[in-house]
């Protein structure tokens, strides 16, 4: 789960990381008031789950409360990478002497949390990794001991020649590691970590991605979810316990299992079509899930045909068949439906479907070809 910069900053502050003050505004008037409180010169930052906010014009310097109001109005009317901006963070502008990068992620290869730090901060770290890898220091953390003092100091000294600043940075890294572990994060990042002309070390930005699997342990963090910052169809899908990702094509896909769902999308493309979505109804086959899945897909105006691809293992195909019948009785479909199902209780499923006027196939390739043909020409293959 993504959280906003201001939310990540609250978490970092609780661990003691030095961060300049800031507050969130949802209207231009609020932004003006906050700017006045902070003494006039402020930065107005779009709070949206997308990288490259600065490049998109979502981060601006305002020299007066009036300018903060104007800029907030502009930013609050923006969409960045398709997502609407509904909140801005207003924070006093800081004088910056240097910018560094500090991040901790879960690394698949070493199967541990790994710190990455670089004196080349303020820019995309993946770009630094690609062009000047020698400017990045990576330190894996043993989960039994946490980030040790000497490791943190080594990273601090990699960033700063000044020992006092290196120690300050080391302390921040240990605080960041605690925030990372206590929140059940898969990423925690400060970019940039800055030094001021007076020599102080401060976190000017904050980013955190929380592991969805940890959220049951942290209801207070789960509550940070901002549904206005996500595609409405994806919010509906999550609330219905479906994994759904909207794409741009016209063949709607309902599949059980993530791997098979991806393979189905690939096969749609292979036969000349474009998938409209990724949708995994998961292992259990509660008919209600199928109803919700059909509902979400059918509401996408791009969808010209819907394809079910179910390989029943734990999933009972008769449950899926019942779900299809229930859903289409409740809300008749306006696009053709192609059903492929095989596996557990296949005979019952086929009986249920044919009793309600549906035909089903057992071969995945045939079903995909059919769906692509219906979506592109309106006729069966």
């Amino acid at each position: 789960m993504n959280i906003h910069e201001y939310q990540a900053k609250d978490i970092f502050r609780r661990e003691g990381i030095p961060i300049p003050p800031g507050a969130v505004a949802t209207t231009p008037d609020e932004a003006e008031k906050l700017a006045a409180q902070f003494g006039g010169t402020v930065v107005v930052k779009a709070q949206v789950h997308a990288g490259g906010r600065g490049k998109a014009g979502g981060v601006k310097l305002a020299k007066s409360p009036a300018e903060a109001k104007t800029l907030a109005a502009t930013i609050l009317s923006m969409h960045i990478k398709g997502l609407p901006v509904t909140r801005v963070l207003v924070t006093p502008a800081a004088d910056i002497a240097s910018e560094a990068y500090v991040g901790v992620i879960v690394d698949r290869a070493s199967k541990r949390a790994v710190f990455m730090v670089s004196p080349a901060g303020g820019i995309d770290i993946e770009e630094v990794a690609a062009t000047t890898p020698e400017k990045i220091l990576r330190i894996p953390v043993d989960p039994r001991y946490g980030l040790l003092n000497f490791q943190a100091l080594r990273m601090g000294l990699f960033l700063y020649a000044d020992v006092k600043q290196a120690r300050a940075a080391a302390k921040i890294m240990q605080q960041l590691y605690r925030a990372f572990v206590h929140s059940g994060a898969s990423l925690a990042e400060i970019n940039p970590l800055v030094t001021t002309p007076e020599g102080a070390v401060l976190a000017l930005d904050a980013k955190m991605v929380l592991d969805d699997n940890e959220l049951p342990r942290h209801p207070e963090l789960a509550a940070l979810r901002d549904e206005s910052a996500e595609a409405p169809s994806e919010v509906r899908a999550r609330n219905a316990h479906l994994t759904f990702i909207k794409l741009d094509g016209n063949v709607g896909c309902v599949v059980n299992g993530a791997g098979l769902a991806m393979a189905t999308m690939d096969l749609v493309k292979y036969y000349g079509g474009e998938p409209a979505n990724f949708l995994d109804i998961g292992g259990s086959s509660n008919p209600e899930k199928v109803v919700n899945a059909l509902d979400i897909i059918a509401s996408d105006p791009n969808v010209k045909a819907i394809l079910f691809n179910i390989f029943g293992g734990i999933t009972r195909t008769d449950d899926v068949a019942n779900g299809i019948v229930t859903a289409t009785e409740r809300a008749p479909l306006h696009v053709p439906l192609v059903i492929r199902l095989t596996g557990t209780n296949e005979e019952q499923a086929l009986k249920i479907l044919s009793a309600h006027g549906f035909t089903a196939m057992t071969d995945m390739d045939e079903a995909v070809k059919q769906a692509v043909s219906l979506a592109t020409t309106g006729a069966a293959a």
């Binding site: 879960v106 059980n256 299992g257 993530a258 791997g259 991806m262 749609v268 292992g283 293992g313």
Partner: protein, 289 residues
């Protein structure tokens, strides 16, 4: 012959009285797996289906029955502890079916299990089956048949799709193993490839990967340098957009790495045949063997 499980596998089920645990225990027993014990804290002394003794702890179960393998169906927040409990009790093979285990939990579980010399398969996996000998997990027995092809995959239902095509075409399997779709799991592609290479009955291997991470690329290097047996590959997620997690926690393209194209290329560079569609695995296997 097979890898990891065979007729000598004696299984204990952690979470045997739960909804999934009890259902799949019956399926495994029906298939012929020797289920010797179950564990549900607080239900020690009871008997599952009048056939399998239930214990409060894995330690008790292992002491009493000598079980050498454990399968875990406990809820995600308790799964890490269950895996470590099994390793501590001396179980050699631990198969965790549970989906949704926090990844930071796995950073602690992995070294713990390893230091105790146990092998962990999963989490978030369908388990494994050696057709005709034993099944540990949830792979439907009737889609598999005995034969000489080893299969390793990160997926569940996609594995079934491919195995089903193989079985229909008369290509039986030594062992089918799903290693799971999470970013950190106990057994890697390379572990399985190494075991299949060493298994005298396995004549060819199918490896089914997906987008995200670099496990497939590393496995391809292993195939090139260490495998004498032919390996057929398939990668799911060619149409997946970058930056989005495609169901599996591990299936995400980050930056330019982890794409299907990169993995397909790595497979080809290693001399592997790569299937365009799941069904193409059959034809490639037939020409490879």
């Amino acid at each position: 012959m097979s890898i990891y499980i065979d007729t000598n596998t004696t299984l204990l089920v952690q979470g045997i009285t739960g909804r999934d645990g009890s259902f799949h225990t019956r399926q495994m027993m029906e298939y012929g797996t020797q289920v010797v014990a179950g564990v549900t804290p607080g239900k020690g002394g009871q008997t599952f289906d009048e056939a399998v003794p239930i214990f409060n702890t894995v330690y008790d179960a292992v002491q009493a029955t000598g079980a050498n393998t454990s399968v875990i169906y406990v809820p995600p927040m308790y799964a890490a502890d269950a895996m470590m409990e099994a390793a501590d009790a001396g179980v050699q093979l631990i198969v965790c079916i549970t989906e949704g285990v926090p990844v930071l939990d796995m950073t602690r579980v992995y070294p713990y299990v390893r230091e105790r010399g146990a092998r962990l398969v999963g989490p978030n996996c369908p388990g494994l089956i050696s057709p005709g000998a034993s099944k540990v997990g949830i792979i439907p027995g009737r889609i598999c048949t005995e034969g000489s092809v080893g299969l390793v995959s990160r997926s569940g239902t996609l594995t079934y799709e491919v195995v089903y095509h193989m079985t229909c075409a008369g290509l039986g399997q030594t062992t089918c193993i799903g290693i799971g779709g999470d970013p950190i799991n106990g057994t890697s592609f390379i572990d399985c490839l190494e075991a299949f290479e060493a298994d005298p009955d396995t004549q060819a291997v199918v490896m089914i990967g997906e987008i995200g991470g670099t496990d497939e690329q590393e496995a391809a290097c292993f195939v090139k340098e260490r495998m004498s047996k032919p390996v057929v590959g398939f990668i799911a997620g060619r149409t997946a957009p970058p930056g989005r997690r495609m169901g599996h926690a591990g299936a995400i393209i980050s930056g330019a790495s982890g794409t299907a194209a990169e993995k397909v290329q790595a497979f080809r560079d290693a001399g592997m045949r790569v299937a365009e569609r799941p069904i193409d695995v059959v034809g490639l296997l037939k020409t490879a063997t």
